[in-house]
């Protein structure tokens, strides 16, 4: 679904009548007393890749954390297939079919690669071994290191493992926070390819990405966040070509 020219024109503003798989509506949220999200609304349609961009501290990670139950929305709703999941615990949200790859500390460093993947599948009913083997086939980088501790992996390998751990549940929706952060350019490209591949298998993806060109490049739609709210939304072309957007947020 990364080829956005095939999408109907109305898709960009989410009014094409498709029921979103995940949506946040008029959400306020934050940490303790500190409000970060301010009346934020976004949606993710089936099969889409949607990219959140914006300056540091804009609240991008906070959106994912609120969607995944790490934070409870103060007001507004988080809906998954039309059901309110706002404030449901993360360990239960996983069971609903959403996966989450955090921005940092996204592997268990003292556990082996194999154990990391097993942990990714604790909520599965069965078929754990098969899924893990499939993931090893897909990601040979980690296949070669099954019994190594995750802390011995390089940045790129770690990102792949973090990604694979979330995929063990075969989620409907995957939330990914800055998959390319700290990676060398060609390693980052590999990770983006992996993201697309997962999307091709019918997983809708909501991704935060600092590398705006590449992030939007593989996305169907994007949102520009600033100070906890959506400033702009549109197709990658619309966002990348918008003068105001590029001046303010995309580094000129």
């Amino acid at each position: 679904m990364s080829d956005d020219t095939t999408r109907p024109a109305g898709a960009a503003d989410g009014t094409d009548g498709v029921d979103p798989v995940l949506s946040l509506s008029n959400v306020d949220s934050g940490y303790g007393e500190v409000q970060v999200l301010d009346d934020l609304s976004i949606r993710l349609d089936p099969g889409e890749i949607v990219c959140l961009v914006g300056p540091n501290g804009a609240g991008k990670s906070t959106v994912l954390k609120t969607a995944f139950g790490m934070l409870t929305p103060w007001t507004g709703t988080v809906e998954y297939h039309g059901r309110d999941i706002g404030g449901m615990a993360p360990e239960e949200i996983v069971r609903e079919g959403i996966g989450y790859v955090p921005q940092t500390d996204n592997v268990f460093g003292s556990l082996t690669i194999d154990e990391n993947l097993r942990m990714g599948g604790v909520a599965r009913d069965g078929g754990l071994e098969d899924v893990i083997e499939t993931l090893y086939d897909r990601f040979p980088i980690i296949d070669r290191k099954r019994t190594a501790k995750a802390k011995t992996l390089s940045g790129g390998q770690r990102q792949v493992l973090a990604f694979a751990r979330a995929l063990v549940m075969e989620p409907d929706v995957l939330l990914i926070d800055e998959p390319s952060a700290g990676l060398a350019p060609n390693t980052a490209d590999d990770v983006f390819e992996d993201v697309q591949e997962v999307n091709d298998m019918d997983t809708a993806i909501l991704m935060v990405e600092q590398n705006v060109t590449k992030g939007l490049g593989i996305s169907d739609r994007g949102y520009v966040l600033d100070q906890g709210t959506v400033r702009f939304e549109g197709t990658p072309e619309e966002l990348l070509n918008d003068e105001e957007v590029s001046q303010l947020y995309l580094g000129g």
């Binding site: 790490m70 993360p90 360990e91 996983v94 989450y100 592997v107 556990l111 942990m119 604790v122």
Partner: protein, 319 residues
């Protein structure tokens, strides 16, 4: 006594300290607080075993000089300690929902409650299991080793329990979840681990082992309402020495601290025998390295180790 003799005593005492250290470390790394009621959990185990042993008495035959009834009492001590800890978690710690410092302070209060209840029921005097004390094993006496079959039972049981814990941590689903939680509690929840449940099992295991340690401490020395609390600082020293939050570190730390504690009289003999000059220095050292200071010496060694390895024996705090 010979060096071997002191080492043998050290091994017995270490077994008890190790059993205590594991639970403190597990609860620290998984439930995320320094549990000051841990020593008194050992006392709970010891007295529960005392009551059970009183009821079943010299049931059946005996192994290693201990009636079968004692092993039943040991199981009861483990079970009651675990149940009491889980009950406390469910009724106090979990509903309170405070941060680690709040939990630490609460646990001091809980420690007083455990101890007070025991004191009300049993008084504050020392007491013993009604088990015939044994003579040292004859065959070992020529080597200066004076350990009884009871001591062998203590070390053997500790080895079995620690081995069992190792298997659990490394090869079972629960163990992997516990290690995952100790490593990264947020990611554990993100992965779908129901952390409250794992926390309860952590309490069961940690308190159960503490209960066993308490029962053995009662067998090794005697029982008193302060027995566990008196050991708490030594256990903390062991856990810190091992690298706080690391279970295997806690085992190593417990082993070392227990050994040092029992080797103190040997060190003082050595100091006495050395031609230390001037005389006042010899006198000072002799007075410092005496049994009364066994715990203080353990602490000094702990500080010395931490100066070299600030994160303890097990390093970064990885489990």
């Amino acid at each position: 006594m010979t060096v071997l003799g002191y080492l043998a005593n050290g091994l017995v005492f270490s077994s008890i300290i190790v059993l205590g250290s594991i639970g403190l470390s597990l609860v620290y790394s998984i439930a995320d607080f320094a549990n000051f009621a841990h020593g008194d959990t050992m006392t709970v185990g010891a007295y529960s075993a005392l009551v059970t042993f009183g009821a079943v008495g010299g049931l059946g035959g005996a192994v290693l000089g201990l009636p079968y009834g004692f092993f039943l009492a040991l199981v009861a001590g483990i079970a009651v300690a675990a149940v009491v800890a889980v009950g406390t978690e469910k009724l106090v710690y979990e509903p309170l929902d405070v941060d680690s410092i709040g939990l630490l302070i609460t646990s001091i209060g809980i420690a007083f409650i455990y101890r007070a209840v025991i004191q009300i029921r049993f008084g504050s005097d020392f007491t013993r299991f009604g088990i015939q004390p044994l003579r040292p094993i004859e065959a070992l006496v020529p080597y200066g080793v004076r350990v009884t079959l009871h001591d062998v039972a203590i070390v053997g049981s500790a080895v079995v329990l620690v081995g069992g814990l190792h298997v659990l941590l490394q090869y079972t689903d629960l163990g992997r979840k516990m290690r995952a939680m100790a490593d990264n509690p947020d990611l554990a929840r993100v992965s779908g681990i129901r952390t409250k449940r794992v926390k309860l099992w952590t309490w069961v295991i940690g308190a159960g082992l503490a209960g066993a340690g308490g029962v053995f401490l009662g067998l090794f020395n005697q029982l008193s309402p302060r027995m566990g609390f008196n050991l708490l600082l030594v256990i903390f020293a062991a856990v810190i020495l091992g690298g706080i939050g690391s279970v295997y570190g806690a085992m190593a730390g417990g082993f070392l601290i227990g050994m040092i504690n029992q080797l103190t009289p040997f060190f003082s003999n050595v100091v006495e025998a050395l031609p230390i000059w001037p005389g006042w220095l010899a006198a000072l050292l002799e007075s410092l390295i005496s049994i009364e200071y066994a715990n203080a010496i353990a602490f000094v060694i702990m500080v010395a180790v931490l100066l070299v390895r600030p994160n303890g024996i097990a390093g970064e705090g990885a489990t």
